[in-house]
């Protein structure tokens, strides 16, 4: 593997639209125990070499979405509607065994979790856990595995990679653990990398290091990246495109520029307004209320109880995710009117 290309950034935005779609989720709904619909109508797609950020408040269904894609929903969870296509292949209804059989788990999809201290098995060495992933690439033999493992750890920038193979997770610092986690996720050479709040547990200085690493590797390996976060700073720094989630639905998608500079959906706008600006003493425009729970979803537009621009119809009619007049994809009954007003 080679050193990161220093100026890949400028290439991305222009050429991404022509690349093949790696992951396409359409109208996906997820329930737990068949009753609790925690995600309904999630539509996202990611292309090779592209980074998609999923953003939204806590409980808006970001994690559930990515778990559904990987098939790790856990007990009681199931995709009940919609489709999930990986490289055009429908995978939404596959069992875990079938997913393993088709090398979906590990081999084609890599995953990084929020808390690196909890996502690494404390009683196995980094090397042992790395080997589980490396074996999926057909590698075997102690020496070979070791060599490849060392290479990966060097690649993610762990000091003393050879030695780090024999370390246990608790012997590494938080940042190092997340690097090891990344190495393990990438070791099976997936095409799609999913990172669920990969840096929330880390300090800002370490966060910058890790995000930088993820971005660099994504470029190098031409990965499709789905990055879950609730930090617009991370979105601005990492994403090519953004999907904003609320109440288990995607409410707006667009390029990072569009979403941050010219948000259209009232929710996106309110969310952005809630972020402190750093200007001393300025009052923040707080978005009142909190995310509704899956068990008590409002009717109509799910955001209407908190929406400053809500009109009576919002209570009854369910908006769908569609492009508005100016071509911005969003889920709002007043998409066309509001667009300009707030732009």
């Amino acid at each position: 593997m080679t050193a990161p290309s220093p100026n890949g950034a400028s290439v991305t935005t222009t050429s991404s639209a022509t690349r093949p779609v790696a992951l396409a989720v359409e109208g996906m709904a997820v329930t737990y125990s068949g009753i609790l619909e925690v995600c309904s109508d999630v539509t996202i797609d990611v292309r090779r070499g592209e980074a998609l950020a999923l953003i939204g408040e806590s409980g808006s269904g970001k994690s559930v979405t990515v778990l559904a894609v990987t098939g790790l929903l856990g007990r009681g969870g199931a995709i009940v509607r919609g489709s999930v296509k990986l490289d055009g292949e429908e995978i939404s209804q596959l069992s875990e065994r079938e997913r393993r059989g088709r090398k979906l788990l590990g081999k084609r999809i890599g995953m990084i979790f929020q808390n690196p201290s909890r996502a690494l098995d404390p009683v196995f060495t980094i090397g042992q856990q790395l080997n589980e992933a490396l074996r999926l690439t057909g590698l075997s033999g102690k020496a070979e595995l070791r060599a490849k493992g060392t290479e990966w750890l060097r690649h993610v920038g762990l000091p003393d990679p050879e030695e780090a193979l024999d370390r246990y997770p608790h012997q590494l610092s938080g940042g190092q653990r997340q690097r090891a986690m990344i190495a393990i996720a990438l070791a099976s050479e997936p095409e799609l990398l999913i990172a669920d709040e990969p840096t929330t547990a880390l300090d800002v200085t370490i966060q910058a290091q890790v995000l930088n690493l993820i971005r660099r590797l994504q470029r190098e390996l031409n990965l499709a990246l789905v990055l879950v976060t609730h930090d617009f700073g991370v979105v601005a720094a990492m994403a090519d495109r953004v999907a904003v989630m609320y109440g288990g639905q995607v409410v707006e998608t667009g390029t990072v520029d569009e979403i941050i500079r010219r948000p259209r959906h009232p929710y996106t706008q309110a969310l952005l307004a809630s972020i402190p600006t750093g200007h001393a003493g300025a009052r923040i425009e707080a978005l009142a209320g909190s995310v509704p729970h899956a068990a008590s979803m409002p009717s109509g537009c799910r955001f209407h109880p908190r929406c400053p621009s809500a009109i009576p119809t919002c209570q009854t009619r369910e908006p769908i995710l569609e492009p508005n007049r100016e071509g911005r994809v969003m889920r709002c009954l007043r998409a066309d009117e509001l667009g300009h007003q707030n732009g």
């Binding site: 806590s58 409980g59 709040e197 609730h230 909190s290 995310v291 509704p292 729970h293 008590s296």
Partner: protein
């Protein structure tokens, strides 16, 4: 980030009704419900023994010895013609009494020592822990046997012996639980508010320890009943003519081949009582876990 939960519009709960709430939750829990029913039946039989039993458990019907179970003697009679059914009922009474006393005393003493040990730490903790460790080195039955032998067989001494053997476990668990609770921010918040250690222990410590104590207590109850039986079996427990379940088992062993009812019924009662208490413990563990409420 932990997912935030919406305000659930439930009826306002009051502190005074918590016991009732726990009870209600127990009734709703399938295991808890089963356990409560069994325990209620056992308890009722034991407490109402004077009314349920047709015979005096101590009176010898010298003309009807070793009768197999029949309509008159539901569980048969023993070797001097006492009604086994009545004896089982009264034996359960004694067993439950011993268990209850042991649990109450252990909860108070063990809980107190454990809390002091866990809250204050330092050398007090060190000394308590070492004593507990020394006591814990001996298998509990050996320790009980020893104390019971020293004190002589009597119900009171059985209670002392079993309690002493149970206390270490309580102290250990309560201590570690106290330490866990002490680390919580809400304890720090109370300290900042100016609450005294005693107040904190009583108002925050005890209620938060209660689930652990109750679960531990219900298990200890079962263990106490079994230990009482074991001690009585070994001849250092409840003295005759009192019908302790263990004494009955021990007496019944002489007739294993000829009169199995002497073994089966007391043992069954013993098992059912312990089972009910274990089940209550299980159910309480689920019900009292704040995560489940």
């Amino acid at each position: 980030m932990s997912s935030l939960i919406q305000v659930r519009e439930t009826a306002p709960e009051r502190r005074t009704s918590r016991t009732l709430a726990i009870f209600k939750a127990l009734v709703k829990d399938p295991i808890g419900c089963t356990a409560l029913i069994i325990l209620t039946v056992v308890l009722a039989l034991a407490i109402l023994a004077p009314f349920v039993a047709q015979f005096d458990p101590l009176v010898q019907n010298r003309r009807a010895i070793l009768q197999p179970p029949s309509l008159t003697h539901w569980f048969g009679t023993d070797d001097i013609g006492r009604d086994v059914f009545s004896r089982v009922l009264y034996g359960t009474q004694i067993s439950l009494l011993v268990g209850l006393m042991v649990v109450v005393i252990t909860m108070i003493i063990g809980g107190l020592i454990g809390m002091i040990s866990g809250y204050f730490g330092g050398w007090v903790d060190m000394i308590i822990q070492r004593i507990v460790e020394a006591l814990d080195t001996l298998p509990s039955l050996v320790l009980s046997l020893f104390i019971a032998a020293m004190l002589g067989p009597s119900v009171r001494n059985v209670i002392i012996a079993v309690t002493l053997a149970q206390i270490p476990r309580f102290v250990r668990v309560v201590r570690s639980e106290t330490m866990k609770i002490r680390g919580h921010d809400f304890i720090a918040a109370s300290r900042v508010i100016g609450a005294s250690p005693l107040r904190i222990m009583l108002t925050h410590g005890v209620p938060n320890l209660m689930p652990t104590m109750l679960v531990l207590g219900s298990l200890a109850f079962g263990i106490a009943i079994m230990t009482e039986a074991a001690l009585s079996f070994l001849g250092v427990g409840t003295p005759p003519p009192n019908p302790s379940l263990g004494t009955m088992l021990s007496q019944g062993t002489r007739f294993i081949g000829q009169a199995p009812w002497l073994i089966i019924f007391p043992g069954l009662m013993l098992t059912i009582s312990v089972l009910a208490l274990n089940l209550i413990g299980d159910a309480l563990r689920d019900v009292l876990d704040p995560r489940n409420r």
